[in-house]
Amino acid sequence: MTENVKENTPIIRVKELEKYFLAKRGYIHMSQYVKAVDGISLDVMEGETVGLVGESGCGKSTLGRTIMKIYEPTGGEIFYRGQNITKLSNKKMHNLRKSMQMIFQDPYASLNPRFTIGDIIEEPMVIHNMYTKAERKEKVYELLELVGLKPDHIRRYPHEFSGGQRQRVGIARTLALNPDFIVCDEPISALDVSIQAQIINLLEKIQDEQGISYLFIAHDLGMVKHISHKIGVMYLGHLVEFGDADEVYNHPLHPYTEALMSAAPIPDPKLARESKRIMLKGEIPSPLDMPTGCPFASRCPRCREECLAGPPIMVNVGDRKVACFDYL
């Protein structure tokens, strides 16, 4: 799994990234914001897959989209191979788009229904003025083959395909630009299980062949553990734990990670019966009115007095990072 991870500058470095959405403009009172991403730092190394897990609404997708500059970051910095891209305009981002790409969640919504498959895969090359017309056509056939579609699919329309096939088209479109970093925004959650495995295998094959780095967003824990070299766990806009995939999965440090991992289904019924599921009690705080202390305090079984006073900082525990007062 870790064959082609090279140790040098990260391909993507996110530093204290913040993305707030305005919820209610205040004139007399303070404006209210939803802090979808609140001070997240993480690195993605070359050829590496970083999995990002967390419950719905914790800001995983927002983080991915902010890195892709679909959303303007509220604060913090994003670096691509050491180049600060936080403040780059769309025009200046244009060339970088070839290197940074994204695979979307819903294969039914991410393809323009009025374009043929050929048009869809060719479009990125047209936008970036790559190759001549004939070469582009050639490249489209190559890409179709790479993702396991047939050449005669080129003239068909998205509605004629199944979810899995559409996601392959989405992947082919992304690969047309030869990116070296791809944000996979829950690329498999809209597919059924047998197809999920095919898409994951395809993504892994492409990574082996081309050394692409992934930021893999998902909520299927088993799948994330399988594909990722490292896992980041998010809770309400914060990164609570980050480290080696197997380590995080098997020996979670943060109480939230622990609860999350105990909820992952175990295929062996004997082991499943023995394992204890941690049930979380308490309410998720409103994203509009976040507590001053640890964001997880209201549901944490290990909550203490100091947890309510101020937010915990990320600390290194071995080669892992945890944001919990237990490890300070």
């Binding site: 679909i70 788009r97 819903d106 009025r114 329309y157």
Partner: protein, 304 residues
């Protein structure tokens, strides 16, 4: 043990592909055409409309009478073999005049619909796509335009440019594009949050490409329906203006002016009113049915 081969035999490789079921690859508009053709009412309306349009275009050329040739010897004749719709009080052939009037009415309808569509789609597209403050100001501007009674500025424009086809077209267009702009804007606002628009953005497409190639193309269906409903509106407006006397002036004739001319002798010569009004009705009806047919062909999930 049962021997498997007794019950199963390997499938013939030629037969393997027989099971392959796939619908024929169809482009969106081909699909729409097929659904439209199946709609009887819309097809009848289309045929009627085409007949009217062809007659309006070529009729006046073929007709032995000219639209403004007066002949006092044949004043106010009833419909006959020589004059199918009869003649008016100046002895002009009413059939030729109705055809000629239909030509002007259709021209007004189509030209205004075209102008309104171009302005409305671009304006609404930009407002919806850019959003925020720009959208707010652009839409307030349309609200202001919309709040001024149409007749007011149509009459003002008539005063400046004279009573002719051009002033009617300008007058109807001043506020006519607003409904199109509002419609396109609302479509664009919902479409731009769709993942395919985000995907185009991430691929590096510029705003113009995203707006025209991705968003407007996907709202074409609603645009087409609105256009087909815009034409009869413009025809109606023109007929109304001509009828109240601020439209096209003599000797030119639109269907509205013909009805206006017939008003004075309505009790004596009702047929002079009947034919132009019937022409207006049939044209507007057929266009409305075409629009409705297109609507159900473009949005097949909608109620029938």
């Amino acid at each position: 043990m049962l021997n498997k081969s007794e019950y199963f035999e390997p499938i013939d490789p030629d037969e393997k592909n027989d099971e392959f079921i796939a619908i024929e690859s169809k482009s969106f508009f081909k699909d729409v055409c097929e659904r439209f053709v199946k709609n009887k009412r819309a097809m009848i309306a289309l045929v009627i409309f085409l007949i009217i349009a062809l007659m309006a275009i070529f009729g006046p050329m073929i007709s032995p009478y000219s639209y403004d040739g007066m002949d006092t010897a044949i004043m106010n004749q009833r419909p006959s073999a020589a004059h199918w719709f009869g003649t008016d009080r100046f002895g002009r052939d009413l059939f030729t005049r109705v055809l000629y009037g239909a030509r002007i009415s259709l021209m007004v309808g189509i030209v205004t619909a075209a102008i309104n569509t171009i302005i409305g789609v671009i304006y609404g597209g930009i407002a919806g796509y850019v959003g925020g403050r720009v959208d707010m100001w652009m839409m307030r501007l349309t609200d202001i335009l919309y709040s001024i009674p149409e007749l007011l500025y149509i009459i003002l424009i008539m005063l400046i440019f004279g009573s002719n086809v051009r002033s009617i077209i300008i007058g109807v267009c001043v506020a006519g594009w607003i409904s199109m702009a509002r419609m396109v804007r609302s479509q664009i606002i919902t479409l731009k949050e769709q993942e395919f628009a985000l995907a185009a953005f991430v691929l590096g497409a510029n705003s113009r490409r995203i707006l025209f190639k991705h968003l407007i193309v996907n709202s074409l269906g609603t645009i087409i329906v609105t256009v087909t409903l815009m034409i009869p509106q413009a025809i109606f407006m023109e007929a109304f203006l001509s009828f109240v006397g601020v439209g096209i002036s003599a000797p030119m004739a639109s269907l509205g002016t013909l009805a206006q001319d017939a008003r004075t002798y309505l009790e004596i010569f009702p047929y002079q009113m009947l034919f132009p009004v019937a022409a207006i009705c049939v044209t507007i009806f057929s266009l409305n049915f075409i629009g409705e047919g297109l609507n159900s062909a473009l949005n097949p999930k909608g109620k029938r």
